[in-house]
Symmetry: C2
Subunit: 363 residues, 2 copies
Amino acid sequence: MNDKHTYCVIMAGGIGSRFWPMSRTAYPKQFLDFLGLGRTLIQQTFDRFLPLCPPENILVVTNAQYAPIVKQQLPQLRDDQVLTEPSRRNTAPCVAYANHVLLKRDPKARIVVAPSDHLVMKEQEFQDTIRLALKQAESSDCLVTLGIKPSRPDTGYGYIQFTDGTGTVDPRVKQVASFREKPDHATAVQFIESGDFLWNSGIFIWTLASIRKAFERHLPAMEQQFAAGAPYYGTPQEAAFIADTYTRCESISIDYGVMEKASNVNVVPSDFGWSDLGTWGSLYTHVPKDAQGNAAIGQQVRFYDCADNMVHVQDDRLVVLQGLEDCIVVSTKDALLVCRKHDEQKIKQFVADAAAEWGEKYV
Amino acid sequence: MNDKHTYCVIMAGGIGSRFWPMSRTAYPKQFLDFLGLGRTLIQQTFDRFLPLCPPENILVVTNAQYAPIVKQQLPQLRDDQVLTEPSRRNTAPCVAYANHVLLKRDPKARIVVAPSDHLVMKEQEFQDTIRLALKQAESSDCLVTLGIKPSRPDTGYGYIQFTDGTGTVDPRVKQVASFREKPDHATAVQFIESGDFLWNSGIFIWTLASIRKAFERHLPAMEQQFAAGAPYYGTPQEAAFIADTYTRCESISIDYGVMEKASNVNVVPSDFGWSDLGTWGSLYTHVPKDAQGNAAIGQQVRFYDCADNMVHVQDDRLVVLQGLEDCIVVSTKDALLVCRKHDEQKIKQFVADAAAEWGEKYV
C-alpha cells in the first residue's frame, strides 16, 4: 500500500475541562505532557502517525485560539497543515472541512481521523491496527472505526456492538451492529459479559470517496456547505469562507451525524493500551503505581499512610501527602485540587463555581 | 508605676519546624503573618508591648541568622535593641544575655520575657495581666509567670500547679506549687478536673534584681559567664564576647534551669485568648470556621463535602478541596502538605525525609 495517499487528520479543538486544573480552556490537555514523558499528547499523537504517512500528510484541525500552540508544539507543520476552526461545532464539520481541503489536494486520499488527546501505550499494535483498517477502507465502500477491547464495565465510554464481518479483508475486521451511548453500570456489565461490545475510540479510517458519500447521504446540507468552498481552500479566502460556513453549519458529532446512521461501518477490535484520558480516573489506570496503589506524576511527591491516590504535580514544588486514600491531587502554579476519585465528575462544577467567584482565568 | 523602667525581651530564635511547610528554618513562623491579619507574629508581639513600655525598651533576642528579618519587620528597632545569638542555646542564655545588657542600661529594669510567636486574642486582658504581674514583681523578690486557664486536657503544653498566694499584691496572683512536663492524656484530664493547674505560657515577669539573684542561685556558672561581659556590652567587642560565651555556656531552658528550681515563683492565672501556636491543631482552635468546621487562611479556598479541615494557603493560588475531613492542608510557593490533623506530630519526620531526599532548601 502506497502511504503517499494516506493522510491523518488530528482533531485538536477540545478544552478538556474534566482535567482541571491541569487542563485549562486557554491551554487544554492535548497540549500538556500528561505523563511527564517529555512530549505533549498532541506531539505523541503526531509521532504515532509518522510511520503511517509522510509528515506533510498530517493535518491538525483546531480552534483558532489554539493554532499558535499547535505551531509551537509541532513546528514541522506547514501553515496549510493546520486547519483552524473559528468556533466549536463538534466533530462533523471538522471532518467535512478536512475532507474538502484534501479533495483539492488528493482525491485518492485515505484518511485516518483521530483525537489529539488520547493515550496509546503500544505503538506497534496501533500502527498494525491502522494499516489493517486502511486495507479494509481501500477494499470497499465502507467506514472503519477502531473499537477497543474493554477491560472493565466503564460507564464513561460509548460502546460498539459488533458481529462477524462478511466479506471483510480479514477475519479480524468485524461488522458494526450498533453504537450505544454511555451505559449505566448494570448495562455496561452486560456488554462486557456478552463479549461482543467494544469501546468507541473515536478513531476513524476511510477513503475520501467513502466518507464524502456518507456525508452526502446523512449530512447532505453540511456536505454542500463545505463543497461550496472549493474555489477558496488553499487560498487567502479560505479563512473568510470557513468563518462564514461555521456560523451556518450544524453543530453535530461525526458519530451521531454519520457513523450511527451509516449501514456500511466496520470495526477493528483493538488492543493497543488505549485510553481517551477522559478523566483523572482513566489516567490513573494507565500510570505506574507504588505498592499502595499511589500514582504520582511529578518528581517530588512523598506518600505516608496513603493508598490509591492519583497525584499530578505540574510545577516543581515538593508535595507531601499523609493519610489520603482514593483521592485525586493536582497541583499547578496557580491552583490546587484535592478531590475523591469517585467524585471527579463534580470537577466541572468546581470549575464553574471558581470561575463565577474568581474569574475566567481559573477555567 | 513608671513604665520607663519596664522592658520587654522578645525571644525570637525558634525555628518552628512543626509548622512546615509554612514555617522554614530560613524563615520561621514568628516572621509569618499566620492569621492573614497583615502583621507577622513578631510584629503583633511588638505591637502588644507598646502600651506597656517605651518602644526603645523592647529588646529582641534572636539567632544571628534572623537578625536581618527582625530589622526588616521591625524597622523602628535600633541596632542595640536586637541581641543576636551566634548559636542555639535554649532560653536560659538568652535571658542571661538580656539581663546583663539591661544591667548596664538600667539596673532598675523590670522585665517581661515573652516568645515572639504566640497568639493573643484579647490584647486588653493581656496588658492588664502583665501590669498585675509587674506589680507583683515589684512588690517582693519573686519570679512571676503567666499561667493560662486551660480549656481542654491538652497534652502539648507543660502545666503549672498553683496554690493561693500568701502575701501577694492581689488575690489573683497565686503561688506556684510545681511545674509539670507535658502530661499524657489521662494525667491532663486529672489536671483539668482538679482545677488548680494552668498551662505554662512561657511568659515571665521579674525585676532585673530578682532574676539575677535566681541565676546566681540556680545557674551560677552561667550568671558569671555573662557577668564577665560587663566591659563589652554595648561596645564593638560585644559580638566577639557573646560568640565566645555561647560556645561555652550551658544549653538549658529558663524553665528547667531556673523556674522549676526556684521557690519564690508566683503565677497569674490568665485568660487572654492565648495559643503558643505550637501546632497546626492549636492554630485551628483559634481561627474562624465555617458551619462544617473548615478553617481557611487564604483568600481563594473552596470546600465541597469537607469538614473540620485546617487550610493555610500562603500564595494566591486557587484551592479546591472535596471530600476531605480532619486534615491539614498547607500550600506554599514551593511545597504542599496534606496531613491528617491527628498525625501532625509526624510532620517533623516528613521534613527530615524531604531534606534527606531533596535538600535543605525544603526544611
